[in-house]
């Protein structure tokens, strides 16, 4: 699979559209255990990102992803701004000035993004955060890819693990993020960050399906 800069732009546009569509759903998840702003904040950020895309349409993938990252940092606020912003910045640093990515490059970019989120948020798996859907998703994708699975099926396997990870946040006790203030009462609710991360992964698969 060859992922071009144009595919990356399509992916970002699809994420922006998904976030807009799911804005109220994400906010509703957040009102149960957070502060009712996750969907609104991400929508504000990605709406601004969309206005920046024409300016980087002819640039390398690293430049595109870094522009997305800095725009999210500057517009989203809350915890998701620095976290998703850092994720896109690190992915952009990993891809560098390439105009085309293969499976190994995509995996490296995703791993860099996850590392960025973990270090910025000083968090790890099992704390009821976005890491709980992203982490298992990347693991499964890598494993399937290493097992010589066709890359598109590997991405499907990764997305399934990402979704399972998202659902696994429901019985978790939150120890990071605003949900942690609820203590035991955070149990029984799906984490909004793990959910938005799954929606982004889903958008990535949809774009990949269009390539192959």
């Amino acid at each position: 699979m060859h992922i071009t800069a144009a595919h990356v732009i399509t992916f970002i546009e699809r994420v922006a559209a998904t976030v807009k569509e799911q804005r109220d759903y994400l906010t509703q998840l957040d009102s149960a255990i957070g502060d009712s702003d996750h969907g609104v904040n991400l929508d504000r950020g990605f709406s601004t990102v969309i206005t920046k895309l024409p300016g980087v349409a002819d640039k390398d993938i690293g430049a595109i992803l870094k522009t997305v990252g800095t725009t999210l940092v500057s517009t989203v606020g809350g915890a998701s701004g620095p976290l998703y912003g850092t994720a896109f910045l690190r992915a952009g640093m990993a891809t560098g000035d390439r105009f085309e990515l293969g499976p190994a490059d995509l995996i490296a970019a995703l791993e860099a993004a996850l590392e960025g989120i973990q270090s910025r948020g000083k968090s790890t798996r099992g704390e009821k955060t976005m890491i709980d859907s992203i982490g298992p998703g990347i693991d499964a994708l890598k494993q399937a890819n290493a097992a010589d699975e066709d890359f598109l099926s590997a991405m499907r396997i990764g997305l399934a693990a990402c979704e399972a990870g998202m659902q696994a946040t429901i019985p978790m006790l939150a120890t990071k993020g605003r949900a942690s203030y609820l203590g035991e009462r955070s149990i029984g609710h799906q984490d909004p960050g793990a959910t938005s991360a799954f929606l982004m992964a889903k958008a990535m698969l949809e774009v990949a399906e269009g390539i192959s």
Binding site: S31, A79, S80, K176, G177, R178, G183
Partner: protein, 333 residues
């Protein structure tokens, strides 16, 4: 939802415009990035003091910009941490050559955005120190969690640290005093009703008429537990006891007692609660030597209150008494 707004998208900006129009003698507002800056700043040779946080907690923080308190405030979107661009712009705007202190409430987003801003400011050669407030005893503290929220102590800290900076203290000294205030203060809050974020359009949680939330924060998030509504005396006990036991405050202590309204509670009820708190502390041999009663750190239209106790000594008392002139707090001038 019934609110005095034009559109949920414009609430923060239009309120900022109102502040700018109401207090041109004290502050100026600039937009994109949104910051509120002391009108006569930067004050040369003075440590700059900035704070910031989500909007919806007014008068905190913008209402505390002025002589003897904050040099700048960074208002985020509703209940959402401001972005690093705002803190960087504010840091540059208030830098009088002696460094800048960031006052950060302990919320994951606030801490990360302030950290990113401090990294950027350092890269531009401005000396920045930070203090993170975490005074809410309703939250269990642990090395492995996000830790306690910053709530009522933040208001007292901004006043006291602002006075220290105004008196000429250097950055290290200002930071020492800030950490002392945070270490000696504790808070706990409760809600009678939820609040409505304009974008959400409906209350953040449902609370039946005969129930209340104990241990709430300031973002419409539910508290630690939900219990049957009780008398003011009983509620005061539920808030005061965990605070007193946590520090702990002891017989013979002198404290600043701060009874804060959450935004939807009338002053008469706050004074009634102050009376209850005074009775409780008297019985424990704790003397209230300074007080603050009113709605200073709010959660939009939430009804309820919080108590904050700050252990006082001569140093903190003197700084609390020092002149202050801001939209929300003013004395001695």
């Amino acid at each position: 939802m019934k609110k005095l707004i034009n559109s949920p998208d414009n609430v923060v900006k239009e309120a900022l415009a109102g502040m700018a129009a109401a207090h041109p003698d004290l502050l100026t507002v600039s937009y994109d990035p949104d910051i509120i800056v002391r009108a006569d700043g930067p004050v040369k040779g003075k440590v700059g003091i900035i704070s910031g946080g989500g909007s919806g907690h007014e008068p905190m923080h913008g209402g505390f910009v002025g002589m003897g308190m904050l040099d700048a405030a960074c208002p985020g979107a509703m209940f959402t941490s401001p972005v690093p661009d705002q803190m960087l712009a504010a840091t540059k705007a208030v830098d009088g050559g002696k460094g800048v202190l960031h006052i950060v409430k302990n919320y994951t987003g606030d801490v990360m955005n302030f950290e990113m801003a401090a990294e950027m400011a350092a890269a531009e050669g401005i000396e920045v120190a930070a203090v993170v407030t975490n005074d809410d005893v309703a939250v269990k503290d642990s090395l492995y969690t996000a830790g306690r929220r910053g709530v009522g102590v933040t208001v007292l800290l901004e006043k006291i640290v602002g006075a220290a900076a105004q008196s000429g203290a250097d950055l290290a000294e200002v930071k020492r005093i800030a950490e002392k205030v945070n270490a000696q203060g504790r808070s706990m809050g409760m809600a009678l009703t939820s609040c409505t974020v304009p974008h959400a359009g409906k209350p953040s949680f449902e609370l039946p008429d005969d129930e209340m939330e104990i241990g709430v924060g300031i973002h419409g998030e539910p508290g630690r537990r939900r219990v049957k509504l009780a008398s003011a005396a009983e509620i005061a006990e539920m808030l005061a006891t965990p605070i007193v036991e946590d520090l702990p405050f002891a017989s013979g202590d002198h404290v600043l007692a701060f009874v804060n309204g959450m935004g939807g509670t009338p002053l008469i009820e706050l004074y009634l609660m102050y009376n209850e708190l005074n009775t409780i502390l008297k019985a424990k041999g704790i003397t209230i030597s300074r007080n603050l009663v009113g709605s200073y750190i709010t959660s939009l239209d939430m009804a309820g209150c919080s108590f904050t106790l700050l252990k006082l000594d001569d140093e903190l008392t003197k700084l609390w008494d020092a002149p202050v002139h801001t939209p929300a707090l003013r004395w001695g001038v």
